[in-house]
Symmetry: C2
């Protein structure tokens, strides 16, 4: 058996300065060009040349407004604000690539599953089967308010809604149109055999959809399912459905802890724990020499916006650190909310005292993930260590500066990982799912989504 393969996603968002708040001020950063199609086209070419498996597009439908009780910090620092729609850059990127996959974030709270299912089928057709869906339930209160939800739905109920939403999508994607429904029979004038198109007759607690799917079957039918979920409900949702799970952890120890939990839950849910691929977030800072890399890292740190970092932290955790001094150590803060939301930081080393400044700095280059700094070989060493020690399967590569970080990683680190047998030299499948798992284009027969399929599945 060869070495464990490393999966690589590029982590992006249709906004400025995705995970490294303030680094948009770096002279080489071009993430403020997110509005231009040219930016996305160039990025797609870089990533496919670098044999990334996919680009993972994050999204929020609100502005981070916990810090200091206001959205001003996020807006001023460009901390994921303004933010554009992620779906619409996918056709651009797919037009100049043949293999790169696209994981698109879309919340189950914000669009009806009937229209959403058509959007994803359309994308899967246009990309010839290269689409993934990062299922989120949305966590920003400002988003809930703006789409008319008087108060935000409780965390647990959001997962119940998500489960039914997913069921509706499965029925539309897997169960509505049979494989051979569409004939395009010009001779006999039959485009589709209506007997092979089925109403889904869904009547649930949250949705009622009597009809059939609007789109004909796309190459993957159900897009590859991505999920990020650190909470208990989130984990159980993830292990039940997701094919790729994304975590963020500032250290190997913290990641190890989450990976262990996820695989245990997967086993309990009756899934093969290794079938779920777990990717953690990493921001590489690459130099030709170690000194060069460290100098670069130091230079990047000068561009960190503490205000932007704490605005992001507030949105992610619900905790407002505006009232604390930068050098205040959070271990001593008598605040249970902070204690529990800092879990992923404190898990690192229970004895370590994180100051507000240290948290801001950690987020500043690499967000909720970690920065790895060094030569291409050192970065490769470090990634291999994460794979072996924490048990993750790969990485969401976030950028410090864009597209610079992606370009450096693709040019210098990927060849080393390929040399070491960790990353395949060529793409192996045509669809995203086949490329990732080499077991065909569609959901595996035993996946919960396949139970709605009209085709008898050999298990």
């Amino acid at each position: 058996m060869g070495k464990k393969r490393i999966y690589l996603n590029a982590f992006e968002m249709n906004c400025v300065g995705h995970q490294s708040p303030g680094l948009w001020t770096h002279p080489e950063d071009r993430s403020h060009q997110y509005k231009d199609s040219e930016y996305w086209i160039e990025l797609a070419r870089i990533l496919e040349k670098g044999r990334f498996d996919a680009v993972f597009l994050a999204d929020v439908l609100g502005t981070y407004d916990v810090y200091n009780g206001s959205r001003d910090a996020a807006i001023r620092q460009g901390a994921q604000s303004p933010v554009n729609d992620p779906l619409l850059v996918v056709p651009l990127m797919s037009a100049v690539t043949k293999h790169l996959g696209f994981g698109v974030t879309a919340s189950v709270s914000h669009e009806h599953p009937y229209t959403f299912a058509r959007r994803m089928s359309t994308l899967d057709h246009l990309t010839k089967g290269r689409v993934g869906w990062n299922i989120v339930t949305s966590y920003l209160k400002s988003a809930a308010l703006n789409i008319g939800q008087e108060k935000q739905i409780s965390h647990d109920e959001r997962y119940d809604i998500a489960s039914e939403y997913l069921d509706v999508c499965y029925k539309l994607w897997e169960g509505s149109w049979e494989d051979d429904a569409v004939k395009v029979d010009k001779e006999n004038g039959i485009y589709t055999d209506p007997k092979k198109v089925h109403d889904i007759n869904h009547e649930g607690k949250y949705y009622k959809i009597p009809g059939a799917h609007l789109s004909e079957p796309s190459p993957q039918r159900t897009p590859v399912l991505f999920q990020a979920g650190a909470s208990k409900k989130g984990r159980s949702f993830a292990v039940g459905n997701a094919e790729l799970v994304f975590i963020g952890a500032p250290t190997i120890n913290a990641a190890k802890h989450t990976v262990k939990k996820l695989r245990e839950d997967a086993a309990k849910a009756g899934r093969n724990p290794d079938e779920i691929k777990i990717l953690t977030m990493v921001t590489p800072v690459i130099g030709r020499t170690e000194e060069e890399a460290l100098a670069k890292y130091k230079e990047y740190q000068k561009h960190i916006s503490y205000e932007g970092a704490l605005a992001l932290f507030g949105g992610w955790t619900g905790v407002d650190l505006a009232g604390y001094d930068l050098n205040e150590s959070l271990e001593y803060v008598e605040n249970n909310a902070i204690r529990s939301t800092l879990e992923s930081f404190t898990k690192t080393d229970p004895d370590k005292k994180w100051t507000v400044e240290e948290i801001a700095k950690s987020i500043g280059v690499g967000g909720m993930g970690t920065a790895v700094v060094g030569t291409p070989e050192q970065i490769a060493d470090s990634l291999e260590e994460w794979i072996e020690e924490a048990g993750v399967d790969g990485f969401n590569i976030a950028y410090a500066i864009s597209p610079g970080t992606f370009k450096d990683f693709a040019e210098y680190v990927v060849p080393v990982l390929q040399e070491r047998g960790r990353v395949p030299k060529e793409y192996e499948g045509t669809t995203l799912r086949d490329n990732l798992f080499a077991k065909g284009d569609q959901l595996p027969a035993h996946h919960p989504g396949k139970k709605y399929s009209k085709v008898k599945q050999p298990i």
Copy 2:
């Protein structure tokens, strides 16, 4: 003063056989390739080379199921079924063009205005200001049911919802972010000045949106507003907001009637009647000689699917013609619903008796519009006649076969129209609005949408 300019839209839809049911069986038709990005990329190149102003993408969110009380006919004949999302082909087409505009159909019943406004701003950014929005209120019962509306909202109330929906969009697009809000000031670390981003505080009958727009201002802010509306409420909505109105009429007389009404209503609403550009639908059948064109037309007619045509007719009018003989004349049908919905046909010539077959044939090549058949010069003559006699400003060019019809029109008819001074030789603006009206990128100062602008408008 020169001759009246002719505006040209290509009329398309993300489906097979858009307006000419059954013609997808023609050996040269490639509309079944709507699923492939290559189809849209090729089409965009043809249209920009042919100096079309825009491509107008229609949409439905349901299946035509009035005919024979079933959706089977529409599905079997591929009559606008299956149908994919229209927005997602726009980035593809914009990536290979610089001037072509994109009118995208989106219903106000099916997505929350807060998320929709962001989608359109995103498209306007990515296309550098080339997006139009065809505002529809949706007419298919199957669509209403599938998105959870127990019974379809009444026609009049739909227009009330549409009005408020549009108001929300105007507030987000025009009133939320000031022109100079976004600084991208790397030196001082200010991406956006939060004082120049405003909550819209919308509280209406149907929507409540406290927050600010998620996207920064796009080149046009509000996309160019398209509308099709033949009903009284539809007309009043159109004349209040639309910049481009689309009509369908089988004859010059029928079009003349509608154009007159529209301009009268516009004047009553206090708008300059000529400010609203009215486009009617035409399907050109072009030959090098008249004989060749007529032979082509005859050949096309052989491919008409009556079943498909009557399925479309049922969806458009709500009238099921399944029980009637093909040679039955509808003048004699004692059915008021048919009488009134046939208005646009009977208006042509009050003494003419339309048989079911004639209706099917008329729809068969050219849908609710008309076919014009002849040499490039004859087609140009005919279009000029429509412009002068019916008072329309231009045409939605539908296809008999795709992309063949568009290719022929672009190659052979457009040069004649350019020679005659009806179609400009070059694109004149960079944004769609500027290209159409040559008065800047954004809504004119006196347009109702501009009342939410933070900039004092010189009227």
